[in-house]
């Protein structure tokens, strides 16, 4: 990955959800994957994300308690991009 195409680890972490959902462009995906090849830390983060999705990715809204729904909504409302 050339300097002009460089993705920082922080950027990769932000893109990981889009990556696993197939929402990145072809170029973004290539840059993401080239970063993963040379960065063990981001590779581990991607693995963790996949594992998390495999374990809890089937939880439906109906399975959550009212308190859990409220906590999630509050967390998403409070989330800001850096």
């Amino acid at each position: 990955m050339r300097l002009s195409e460089d993705l920082s680890c922080a950027e990769v972490v932000q893109l990981v959800t889009d990556y696993v959902e197939g929402a990145l462009s072809v170029d973004e995906r290539r840059r993401f994957e080239e970063h993963i090849v040379i960065c063990d830390g981001c590779g581990a983060h991607l693995d963790q994300m996949r594992t998390t999705i495999a374990v809890v990715g089937r939880v439906s809204e109906q399975q959550l308690s009212t308190e859990a729904v409220d906590e999630l909504i509050a967390a998403f409302r409070g989330w800001q991009r850096p």
Partner: protein, 171 residues
């Protein structure tokens, strides 16, 4: 088309984590199929000239059907593993890494500002991290001589791999 596939140990794909069906008894592995959708899905592989970008600890020859070329990669509708490239072993990885370090050190001789990067390349090579060492060395070349030097360094790495691993005819 015969191309190259970089996998982790036991035939595990580095991105999808698919455990590829391995060849058995001299027969190729089973075909794996997936719709080739603009790199989001499909069977991914590469020619030898793109190999430095995707190196992992195991390298395989793969047969592909219905292949499209993309930047640094091939995407196919289906593929099956043929043979592992056993020449890509710990010794080859180490030699590749230190070959890269040699070129990085040559650039350091005329530009001391690259010292930190070159030291990183040495450390990576000593740790046996061939893909990372290749990346650092390409980045050193780019810092020294511009983006074309990055591509030239990657091409040099590919040529080294073709010769050392006997990959003539695979791009």
């Amino acid at each position: 088309m015969i191309a190259l596939k970089c996998l982790h140990a036991c035939g595990v794909a580095p991105f999808s984590r698919l455990a590829w069906p391995l060849p058995r008894g001299g027969e190729p592995g089973a075909w794996v199929e997936a719709d080739p959708d603009a790199c989001a899905s499909g069977i991914h592989a590469c020619h030898a000239d793109s190999l430095p970008y995707w190196l992992t600890e195991h390298l395989w020859m793969i047969e592909l059907d219905e292949v499209e070329a993309a930047e640094h990669k091939l995407v196919a509708r289906r593929g099956r593993l043929l043979d592992r490239v056993h020449a890509w072993d710990g010794s080859a990885m180490s030699d590749f890494a230190f070959d890269c370090v040699g070129r990085a050190e040559a650039l350091l001789a005329r530009d001391e500002s690259l010292a930190g990067y070159v030291q990183d390349a040495r450390t990576s090579a000593r740790a046996g991290h061939a893909p990372v060492t290749g990346f650092i060395t390409a980045r050193v070349a780019e810092l020294a001589d511009g983006v074309e030097a990055y591509d030239a360094e990657r091409a040099a790495q590919a040529r080294w791999l073709v010769v050392r691993l006997g990959l003539d005819g695979l791009g």
